[in-house]
């Protein structure tokens, strides 16, 4: 089942397209990594898909009403903003807003599931602003999980996390996909992307450059062309491993 489909999505900044004629579909059970160099248009693509930016072409999510969209896709922006020292539990409960203002047993259940999945039980009463950056990221992921939507979109969810936390976060994303939901993440760490995602989408200067299983997308040729990177790719039992050698 398709959770997100983009048809010829184009976003312009002035006359210059930042996302250029991108079409793709994301279905259930997929954990899709969106990769590309800085400025390739990853964030713009996701924000336009959510209807946050004016665009041409179609996005199935942007076409929904705000309330319907909030039940179809959860979104975790890159800026981890928490404006007030609100308790972790209250932050996570915000994820239940699209499901009505009355707190039902289902709401409590979803919040508790998100808390235990992100291992935040010991933090639940702490003000979220007092936590470390990595802990805050986990709180915000839990908030998005509590929204309990078929599709979860996250912009660089692993930025600023230590290696173990990065792995832990991506494992959670993968689990969610394996449970039958869809995930779309933008990622900078190509090895991690190759290890955790079922599929990678490579953007270059706003255009969709490659779309497929990690080993097909991540080749030494595309790395050189798109990332200007000479790198060696080792096939290992845990997936492809990328060894950067020099900047081209």
């Amino acid at each position: 089942m398709s959770l997100l489909s983009l048809t010829s999505l184009t976003v312009r900044r002035g006359a210059c397209p930042v996302v250029d004629d991108v079409s793709l579909t994301i279905g259930t059970g997929e954990c899709v990594g969106l990769i590309g160099p800085n400025g390739a248009g990853k964030t713009t693509l996701m924000r336009a898909a959510l209807g946050l930016l004016p665009h041409e072409g179609q996005s199935s999510l942007a076409a929904l009403s705000a309330a319907e969209r909030a039940r179809a896709a959860a979104w975790m922006p890159q800026s981890r903003e928490i404006a007030w020292p609100i308790a972790v539990e209250d932050i996570i409960r915000l994820g239940r807003m699209p499901h009505g203002t009355r707190l039902t047993p289902r709401d409590t259940q979803a919040v508790e599931a998100a808390i235990s999945r992100m291992e935040l039980d010991s933090f639940r009463a702490r003000p979220a602003t007092e936590l470390s950056g990595g802990e805050q990221a986990r709180v915000l992921i839990a908030r998005a999980l509590a929204q309990d939507t078929p599709l979860l979109m996250a912009d660089e969810p692993t930025a600023g996390l230590d290696p173990a936390a990065q792995l832990g976060t991506l494992d959670v994303m993968r689990q969610i996909a394996d449970e039958g939901r869809g995930v779309l993440l933008s990622l900078h760490d190509l090895s991690l992307a190759a290890r955790s995602c079922t599929r990678l989408i490579l953007l270059d200067k706003g255009r969709l450059r490659a779309d497929g299983p990690p080993q097909e997308v991540l080749t030494e040729e595309t790395l050189a062309e798109v990332f200007h990177l000479r790198a060696r790719i080792h096939a290992t039992p845990d997936g492809p491993l990328l060894q950067p050698l020099e900047r081209l």
Partner: protein, 326 residues
């Protein structure tokens, strides 16, 4: 819900105290009977037509300023956003003065609060546009200085040009605010707009909570930023405009009250809104009682007391956010 109950009890107690404490001593029982028209008609007149409107206005105006402050802070995610400091009250006062001096208010009673509302709306709009989506402290404070200075100067100018020699003496009223010797007609004029504005602001609760996580996250939670902004503009302009039109600009209520109450409601913007309305009412009632106890011979202005309490707190908040201001 406990803080709301406690605040309601406090507000009710202060409301009663405001009715019972006056310039002239009236025994408790006599005063309560007079409030319902029993006993000496002079006492009834004082209780019903002088003290009751005064207490009602203090409570209404306090609620308007408290909740508007909390709503603006929630929207801009900045604890320094305050109707008085960002020039909204001063603009509303200018609107009111213009309505009075042009004779518009004499022709249509409603012109007074509505003109004040329009000017307050303009000021909030300007601040929201200038401060941008996430209200940066520096922009807020600078915009506030500019708007307050301009509105204050134009208010003074308008009053100085008045052929009534006493008009100039009321500049202090418009800048400092007072609920002394207002009548029930002022209550009827302001109450519907204040209550309507507060009702509209209350619909922002969920949206302001969601905005804690930023605009994108709020949008993905089904919150429309445009609708929130419109309701904030109209709601706060109605509440502040109507309040200022009858009592002048009282500063710092919207700063002090949310700041004190925020920890008690777990910092949640949604719970802060009703709490700040009650807290604002309580604070202004207390301040008005204080003006009568401290200097009964003089018409001590509410804004003077609020500034004595509020300005040090404002400095403290600037100190806390000074890194952001840079």
């Amino acid at each position: 819900m406990k803080p709301l109950l406690a605040l309601s009890a406090l507000t009710a107690a202060l409301f009663l105290a405001s009715l019972l404490i006056g310039y002239s001593p009236i025994p408790l029982g006599t005063a309560l009977a007079a409030l319902f028209g029993a006993g000496d008609p002079l006492n009834a007149m004082v209780m019903q037509d002088i003290r009751l409107p005064r207490a009602l206005l203090a409570a209404l105006v306090g609620a308007a300023l408290g909740m508007s402050g909390a709503a603006m802070q929630g929207f801009l995610r900045n604890p320094l956003a305050e109707p008085g400091l960002i020039g909204v009250s001063a603009s509303a006062a200018l609107g009111a003065v213009l309505a009075l001096q042009t004779g518009l208010a004499a022709a249509y009673a409603l012109a007074l609060p509505l003109t004040a509302l329009a000017f307050a709306f303009g000021a909030v709009l300007l601040v929201v546009l200038l401060a941008g989506p996430r209200g940066a402290s520096l922009t807020l404070i600078l915009a506030g200085i500019a708007i307050s200075a301009l509105a204050g100067a134009l208010t003074s100018l308008t009053l100085n040009l008045s052929p009534n020699p006493y008009a100039a003496s009321e500049i202090i009223f418009w800048m400092m605010g007072s609920v002394a010797d207002r009548s029930m007609s002022h209550v009827w004029l302001a109450a519907p707009l204040i209550l309507g504005g507060l009702g509209l602001l209350l619909t922002l609760r969920g949206g302001l909570d969601a905005l804690t996580l930023g605009e994108d996250a709020a949008h993905s939670l089904g919150v429309s930023l445009g609708s929130i902004r419109t309701r904030l503009l109209i709601g706060s302009a109605a509440a502040i405009g109507a309040a200022t039109a009858v009592t002048g600009a009282v500063g710092f209520v919207g700063l002090v009250v949310p700041h004190i109450l925020r920890p008690l409601v777990g910092h949640m913007p949604s719970r802060l809104l009703p709490a700040s309305a009650l807290g604002g009412a309580a604070m202004l009632l207390a301040a008005d009682i204080a003006t009568r106890l401290i200097l009964p011979e003089r018409d001590l202005k509410l804004g003077v007391l609020m500034a004595i309490v509020g300005a040090p707190l404002f400095l403290h908040l600037i100190y806390k956010t000074r890194r952001e201001i840079g």
